[in-house]
Amino acid sequence: MEPADELSNDQASLELSADPMRLNMGPSHPAMHGTIRMVIDLDGETLVNLDVQPGYLHRGFEKSCERGTWAQVFPYVDRLNYVSPMLNNVGWALAVEKLLGIEVPERCQYYRVILGELARVADHFTCNGASAMELGAFTPFLWLLKVRDWVWDILERETGARMTHSFGRIGGMAAPPTATFKDDVLRLIPEVHKVVKETEIMLLRNRIFLDRMQGVGVLTKEQALSYGVTGPMARSTGIPYDVRKDHPYLVYDRFDFDVPVGEDGDNWDRFMVRLEEIRQSVRIIEQAIEQMPDDGPINVDDPRIVYPAKDDVYTTIEATIAHFKLVMEGLRTPKGEVYSFIEGGNGELGFHIVSDGSGTPYRVRVRPPCWYGLAASREMLLGGMIADIIPTFGSVNMIGGECDR
């Protein structure tokens, strides 16, 4: 190799170019939270332009729903926001139940609330833990994921699966709560409080963490509203919108809980809102455990909606026929369309479903909450530093499964 000073005497070629440098981040990048691509124009380290390109995890979820029965959609919704699949299960069940005009028994409503809030806790653990890890704080990440695993242990005991539960059923749940369900959850609660506290001790007075989070990735209230952002992201800007409070479903109107809001809409506020929401979820869980009846039916009493018991299927013709019809043709819904929405991990998770009166959805449209945050993320990142993409985009919590469907 030639010595450097002999390569060229042309001074101009040694200068950094004044033109912006174009870089690709993703779609397969370890810090990009799933398969997403950003095309960024850099002036030094400053982002002068960027283009966020989703769609790399598109699987045709909505179209797939049109080929099976209503009940066969559950495994698909598991794979929307796969960090809190139970919330999606509950959301889908509620949507079809709204179409049918039925309401599940009270015990099931509490069960759904508790399982859903556990999923939300797991979701926020994951998001906040990853945010910390990406800024170099590996310990809180491990601590949070340790407790998230315990949350998953409970979900696994209840549903049989840690992530893809497919546990929701139209008109109920796949199985009643196990005998130790309440005790398991109550035993977990102190651990959740403990790990949240530990996380706070580790992070909230850490200069590096503060500098990377405060005032970075700011989303204003106006921007949040104009992009249709909901959930923790919207609340971090000061919009106190929470579906559980504003349009209560299941039995949420019976619980005493707060909706935490931020002021600045920066990474810090999003982080803090999620941490506080974990505490509020635990409050809801505690009250729900208190109020949930210990016995009573979990499923609605209609063999045209819920599978009859197996021993009946094997011994009586009525149950055999009901089972046959539900499996082969699917439960029949009335013609029409509904929009049903719940508070998902990232905000308002909506299902707009259209029925032609058959056993198969005619059209399913999902309102994926993180989609709107993703749309807003360009404005949040523009003008910032390239390194800030990681914490900011992390706190947007884009989940490919849900966003790209």
Binding site: D302, D312, T316, E318, A319, T320, F324, K325, M328
Partner: protein
């Protein structure tokens, strides 16, 4: 026209029509088991009970459970009437969905399932069973009876085609009425009452008339099953095409039920056509589906007897063209087929005209036992169409062809189809000729006598039309794709013409079909 109101919808009717009939004509189904549009009224299943809300109300006493008192107290309910037997009256108001009717439907349905065996998983009717459909639509409750169900004979052989299961039977008597009214043979009847009620054969008889499969066709449940279809397929895997029966010159309209996974036809069902077959088909016609995958000719061959060997597709056409060219056009016989579509025959007639061969013959099956119900004496679906394709001239028979070959007037043959009345031995004069080319979908005496055989598609696999014995043209489309490399006969004929240096001017089926329609119009 007089009108009545059913569930808020005005329905016009002709005097003498029942509520059920008028609604059925409008495409509204009032739930029913025993009523069938082609049969007499029995009104025994009670599923079609409706409430006539207009006029003087009749009340029936009943005992109703009083929650407060905890006991049954006298009450009354409106007298419901079977829609199948209720003559429609001008300005009558009928409900088939009000609470009283719903309660009646649920009760009738529960009653019918009271002793029904848990057979759906092994029952051929599952998936198209009215008990299943109406359970889901009108009952939706679990079993209340705790005692052992009544047991009755199962798997009773009614005849060569039908198996009867008395436990599944709901005693609607449709099968009895089909035998009485369609087949005109009172071979089935009912014996005993209540729990012992069952359908039985006339003493010393079997269910062996020509319309036995219609008993299975009208059975709304799985009580009667077809020996042939039994345990062969599950109906939810089947798809349905529309066809015309190839059994005889009646041309009954069919639903062709096939499994798309295997490309195999499993059964035919009659397709309603008031001008042709009403709601029915005969057994032999129903069984013509089996031709789709039995005795098919799948490969071009050359040579005869033991020397017959497979040849390539193009090679076969070249060989056929060479053999036909070797014969003087005036001594070339072209044999149309009464089993093939008019379009196939038209293409062949065009080929004959283009090479200047004017000796046209018709190969056809020799007839079967007809009746004055549906079956025509002529068991060829398209004799009239083949004649039409040849320009209306009376076509000579295969017998005439044999005579012409023996006299030396014919020295080469181009034949369409497999169907002849003659057996192979009788076709010996053809075997003696060198140039006998057969275009066929199936094996048969005619292809067996040929020196070159080229396979073509079967009726289930093509667009085409038949002209039935009454001169009615009925078009149909393909249900399945032909086996690999095989094409519709008209296309193969056009290719063969190309090898002979003639252009028949047939680009696609539409054009061929339009040409036929124009020719028929011009002839009239």
């Amino acid at each position: 026209m007089p009108k009545f109101v059913l569930d808020g919808k005005e329905i016009s009717f002709e005097l003498g029509e029942t509520v059920m009939e008028a609604a059925w004509r409008e495409g509204i189904e009032i739930p029913h088991y025993c009523w069938h549009p082609g049969l007499s009224i029995a009104a025994n299943c009670r599923m079609c009970l409706v409430h006539v809300e207009s006029g003087r109300q009749m009340a029936m006493p009943q005992l109703a459970f009083d929650e407060d008192k905890g006991e049954y107290v006298p009450a009354s309910k409106p007298k419901l009437q079977p829609a199948c037997q209720l003559a429609a009256v001008d300005e009558m108001v009928v409900s088939s969905t009000n609470d009283e009717v719903k309660a009646a439907q649920a009760s009738v349905q529960e009653f019918l399932l009271l002793n029904h065996p848990v057979d759906c998983p092994i029952c051929d009717q599952a998936g198209e069973c009215k008990l299943q459909d109406y359970y889901y639509e009108h009952q939706g409750t679990m079993k209340r009876k705790l005692t052992e169900p009544v047991h009755k004979p199962k798997g009773v052989r009614f005849g060569p085609t039908i198996v009867y299961d008395a436990e599944r039977c709901i005693m609607c008597t449709r099968c009895i009425r089909v035998c009485d009214e369609v087949a005109k043979d009172h071979v089935l009847d009912m014996r005993e009452r209540g729990n012992k009620n069952e359908i039985v054969l006339a003493p010393g008889r079997e269910l062996d008339h020509k319309y036995t499969l219609m008993t299975e066709h009208v059975c709304p449940v799985g009580a009667l099953t077809s020996q042939d279809f039994r345990f062969k397929a599950r109906v939810w895997f089947l798809k349905s095409g529309q066809g015309v029966c190839t059994g005889c010159a009646t041309g009954c309209n069919t639903h062709v039920d096939y499994d798309p996974r295997y490309g195999k036809v499993y059964r035919l069902r009659p397709r309603d056509n008031a001008d042709v077959n009403q709601f029915w088909m005969c057994d032999d016609g129903m069984m013509t589906y089996a031709r789709q995958d039995t005795d098919r000719t799948l490969m071009p061959t050359a040579g005869r007897g033991d020397e017959r060997t497979p040849v390539g597709e193009g090679e076969a056409l070249d060989l056929a063209a060479a053999k036909l060219k070797a014969v003087d056009a005036s001594k070339l016989a072209v044999v149309l087929s009464a089993q093939h579509t008019t379009e196939d025959n038209l293409a062949l007639a065009k080929l004959a005209a283009s090479v200047g061969a004017d000796r046209l013959y018709l190969a056809a099956l020799g007839g079967w036992e007809g009746d004055d119900i549906l079956r025509s004496d002529d068991n060829n679906p398209n004799r009239a169409g083949a004649t039409q394709a040849a320009g209306g001239a009376t076509l000579k028979s295969v017998g005439d062809l044999l005579a012409d070959v023996q006299s030396g007037a014919v020295q080469g043959v181009l034949a369409l189809g497999w169907a002849t009345a003659e057996k192979l031995e009788e076709l010996a004069p053809l075997v003696a000729l060198d140039g006998v080319v057969s275009l066929t979908s199936h094996v048969g005496a005619l292809p067996a006598s040929a020196s070159v055989v080229i396979p073509v598609a079967d009726t289930f696999e093509i667009h085409g039309s038949f002209v039935n014995g009454k001169g009615l043209t009925q078009a149909f489309g393909p249900t399945l794709s032909p086996p690999g490399g095989i094409e519709p006969a008209w296309k193969t004929i056009a290719e063969l013409a190309g090898k002979l240096g003639k252009d028949l001017g047939i680009k696609d089926f539409q054009e061929l079909s339009q040409g036929l329609a124009d020719a028929v119009e011009a002839a009239q």
